[in-house]
Symmetry: C2
Subunit: 638 residues, 2 copies
């Protein structure tokens, strides 16, 4: 197995090749690139905020101005003069740096927005202009180099070529217009309850029909299998037994599809899945067990059957016309990856923004505890600033987790806008090391250490081995439960909250690949119905329950100071310890096909979780092939 | 013309495409990359020096050590223990940053080398290693990711693919071995005399036979035309009349070729060109006129006829065997771009280094004033540190100018090692704007402003429009003297010393391209024999003489504070002024095919140099197509 499946791991599709990465960078840096670079990244009251912006080689501006508002209004201004209700601050040229990939120099400019009181949302735009050329103006954050009139400056740039290619290959459309940025000044922090969380991902249609019903058997995997909210309620104790503190439900709003990411009514529970009353019951059943519930919320797009889009298509004077971006009315409009049935919402349109916020607020008032935010890189950062402020205002403990399949640099910019993002980068490393054996222990360890230090402390990165959009981990390791357990041991002993994808704990796998090398495949293979009763792998289930219990009981495993204690790249041995006060956890992993011996640091170790039989002898652990173990110990008080 | 010739401008060949730039970057950053990053860049006595190094994603070291010497010896050490005579300092992990093009994190580490007294040369090596893996060690500055045993770590990296491709396409060979770096602690600065210099580049074989002789007419352009040092002496007053302060002679050491970049004897004047006595006479004739003389020195390689190489080929026990790098003795060896007749010298070999320094020292003692250093990116930075120290010791006013066809980032690393480098980046911008009309005035201006601010003050970047390795400027503009004059007006009013390539001042051009789009062409077309007598364009000559006089008489033009005062991208109009005290220069250029009007700042302008008839009317200058002018004025004392 292994190498056969590599081509299936098309996780970072739009960034999968050097050419795409380079094109994205060139498109961005050729123009005026703010890239959400503010310092501090999440401002508190009475701190000035420094903004950074770079001017590409073909942006010959000699002035850069920031227009901003503090009352929620749209910032306006031009050529150094702020419009009504807006303030302005001039940028200052700070540095020049060479950029080989644009074969020229970038200028870095900085401006300081003065300190603001708590609760202020600062909305801002950035304009570069030339004092020597009347009418010249370039606005940020346009991708590529585009003057104010919308025409491209100079010849076709590498960035333009890239944007065109992405349109052809991925159906992505890029709009060239000035962007509004925002940050919020407050003392908000990620709620404490998220840090020691353990998340269970339920794909509702595929989890449990409930009421003694069996799954229906639709003709294909895109059909409805009959899972319901009632089914989730029935199984809540099974979920609780895994040590779960948070259930993430796949979308439950009205939708024509089995997955629900194409909403037709943000205010209704999809009748196939249940009722609002069912949801309230589920919330009660969860809360009474100390479990919280996240809904899956898609702000980026809706179903083309959504009344707002239908109205916009029927009448350009419809109040919801402006929610969408028609490039040729009514036939052509911007949609999610070019899928016509998923028209994209302009989340910077004030009415659309408010409608989305109102919808999310409705569910918070029903008692949900937060949202998993689908494709959060689609809506603007400014949107998320308003979104979070509104949510926190209703429920101060609400948690917002984004789904950004992106670089670490972009992920980091969501600090202060969201509470965290799903950790696709760690996912990739976990699969490369434990799933494909494509990187060595030292490389995996090096990645993890660097990755963990690359984000500000309050930004939570839930970990996962797989989800509904990719091959299950058990499938890529050819059904080898030892290897799944080994990867889970590692996942559960990393700092951020683990996500357990439904079915993983009982051995649910696939019958075919989600994506073959030739591009064919069945994405829904990763969403087969849950195994129940005798189909469940009891050994695996026991292991996962034990793992959940130990993680929750052993704070050192997730909040301790991590230290790598053993590495053997040839054999695939890897051990690290995590210390918190006098509590210490030690994780020893054998990611190789041979029995292996790993020396242990001196301590009175207790065996906390073991994936398979492990022998301790002469200060070392003897691990079977693909075996792993978690030890704990108490250090004597100094 | 113009666009037809673009493909000829293959100046940055090894960095000409995105793929090459990306490969170079990946090869470098995948490993341990110091990139000569020290702060301060040119240390003075009693300053600590901070070193920076980055560890690529697949360098899982948790320790980084610097081994250094202050007595000129080779630094040695391993895994944190310095060898005899070496000292060590530990690096500290400073930051982690995401690198999309390696899809992983880089770690930045820093170390401080303690302050040293004046005259100290610090030689150092950098090693990363893992405290968890016995024997693991990665040394800098290896290109790519290579452990200490010379084998490549992990699979073939993007960098390896690039290095292989460069070998196939350019004949470049890369050696994987630990590199020694160096810096010198002193108060050395670039000699003042260089700043207001005006340089004349003489290609000796093609300049003047002297003694009433005519050029010979060899069968092809690779033949000998008969130019001599005596010829240069005869014309010294013509050269002086151009305002020249410095003559750069193409290589004059013994060599079988017309160009001389393949030395066979570093201590002899090539008999075809003259004798040592001729050189001394030339030096005297120049010096008495206030003109200095640079020799062209190639330290990177020699002719395969050079006795040192011949001896090495005959006998592997020869004392000069180690000067070269045989990959398969004696057939295969590293050579300049794979040209077998130009074996490359290992300038880090102590004997080779000393031999090269001794040879240069010999010529300094004859009275030459400095060197133009061919392909200075071939020899190591550590070599140049020793080279400059030795030269300065003999002649404190010596000037050393490198030829690095490279990025601004690499150029900058020669600060404190050389006095400057030929400005290929400006050359490219000058040709794109004035020669090919491929960039606009605002883009050219933006490039110039950023470029000038990108280097430390003491680093001199002589400007040029063309040289012996590329199409002459007059050729690319189809012989249009107006356009040559316009470009020259700009070149001569930029801060760094202009270089005038022999013949340009009298209208010397070509008969064919140096390089056609299909790769064919005649590189020697750019080296046709000098025009003498009636063949000389007297108008152009007068213009160049005037230009030289005005530049030398008007310090504001090169040391004044520059300010762009007018830009019109559509018409191609461009004006800037340069102010130094109460002296002010104003340069007005019309880089377009129409008569143009450019408003002038208010002042009592005097017309200093004009390329063609210019009318002043109503506070504006009326310029003919491709016309330009330099005005000067004295500002009233405040």
């Amino acid at each position: 197995m292994g190498a056969d499946h590599v081509s299936s791991d098309f996780i970072f599709g739009t960034l999968a090749t050097d050419a795409r990465r380079l094109g994205a960078m060139q498109a961005e840096l050729a123009g005026i690139a703010h890239r959400h670079r503010i310092e501090p990244i999440d401002p508190i009251p009475d701190q000035p905020v420094r903004l950074w912006v770079s001017l590409g080689p073909h942006i010959p501006g000699d002035r850069v101005t920031c227009y901003f508002t503090t009352d929620g209004g749209e910032p306006v201004g031009a050529r150094g003069v702020a419009g009504d209700g807006s303030q302005m601050v001039a940028f200052v040229r700070q540095a020049v740096r060479w950029e080989t990939f644009l074969w020229g120099y970038l200028e870095e400019w900085v401006a300081d927005i003065p300190p603001q009181p708590a609760g202020t949302t600062v909305r801002y735009r950035i304009e570069a202009w030339s004092s020597l050329e009347d009418g010249s103006s370039w606005a940020s954050e346009i991708i590529g180099s585009t003057p104010g009139d919308g025409t491209v400056l100079g010849d076709e740039s590498p960035g333009d070529i890239y944007l065109h290619a992405m349109g052809v290959e991925f159906g992505l459309t890029f709009v060239r217009r000035a962007r509004t940025f925002a940050f919020r000044v407050d003392h908000e922090q990620t709620p404490d309850w998220l840090y020691d969380g353990l998340i269970y991902q339920v794909f509702v249609d595929r989890y449990a029909p409930g009421g003694g019903r069996a799954f229906t058997q639709p003709d294909d995997l895109n059909g409805f299998y009959g899972g319901t909210l009632a089914g989730v309620i029935e199984q809540i104790d099974q979920i609780a037994a895994l040590g779960v503190t948070l259930i993430w439900l796949s979308p439950i709003f009205s939708s024509p599809s089995h997955h629900g990411y194409d909403t037709t009514d943000f205010y209704a529970v999809e009748p196939r899945l249940g009722t609002l009353t069912d949801l309230r019951e589920l919330l009660d059943a969860a809360h009474v067990r100390g479990i919280r519930v996240l809904l899956d919320f898609t702000a980026n797009h809706v179903s083309d059957q959504h009344p707002a889009f239908q109205a916009a298509c029927r009448d350009p004077h419809s109040p919801t016309y402006g929610w969408f971006t028609f490039t040729e009315y009514p036939e052509t409009y911007i949609s999610f990856f070019g899928v016509r049935s998923l028209p994209q919402i302009d989340t910077d349109h004030p009415d659309a923004r408010q409608a989305l916020i109102d919808a999310a607020a409705f569910w918070l008032r029903q008692g949900v505890d937060g949202f998993r935010l689908d494709y959060n890189i689609g809506p603007s950062h400014a949107f998320w600033v308003d979104f979070r402020a509104a949510m926190r205002n209703i429920q101060p403990e609400v948690v917002l987790i984004g789904e950004a399949v992106e670089t670490a640099d972009l992920l980091r910019t969501y600090s202060g806008r969201l509470d965290g993002c799903l950790d696709f980068l760690l996912l990739q490393a976990l699969r490369l090391f434990f799933g494909f054996h494509e990187i060595r222990a030292s490389q995996f360890d090096s990645f993890v250490c660097r990755h963990l230090s690359a984000f500000p402390p309050g930004f939570v990165l839930p970990s996962f081995l797989d989800n509904h959009d990719m091959n299950r981990f058990l499938w890529i390791v050819g059904g080898d439960r030892r290897r799944l357990k080994l990867a889970a041991l590692c996942q559960y002993t990393l700092p951020h909250p683990p996500i357990l994808y439904y079915g993983t704990e009982v051995g649910l796998s696939q019958r075919d690949d989600v994506r073959h090398a030739d591009g064919s495949g069945h994405p829904e293979e990763a969403r087969l119905p849950m195994l129940w009763g005798a189909e469940q792998d009891q050994d695996l289930l026991t292991f996962y329950r034990r793992l959940g219990t130990v993680r929750r009981a052993t704070a050192a495993l997730w909040r301790g100071v991590r230290q790598t204690v053993y590495l053997d790249d040839v054999a695939g041995h890897y051990a690290y310890q995590c210390r918190d006060g006098d509590e210490i956890g030690l994780v020893v992993l054998n990611n190789g096909p041979q029995v292996g011996r790993v020396p242990l640091p001196a301590a009175e170790w207790t065996l906390a979780v073991v994936s398979d039989s492990v022998t301790i002898e002469g200060g070392a652990a003897w691990l079977p092939a693909y075996g792993g173990v978690i030890f704990t110990a108490r250090l004597p008080q100094d």
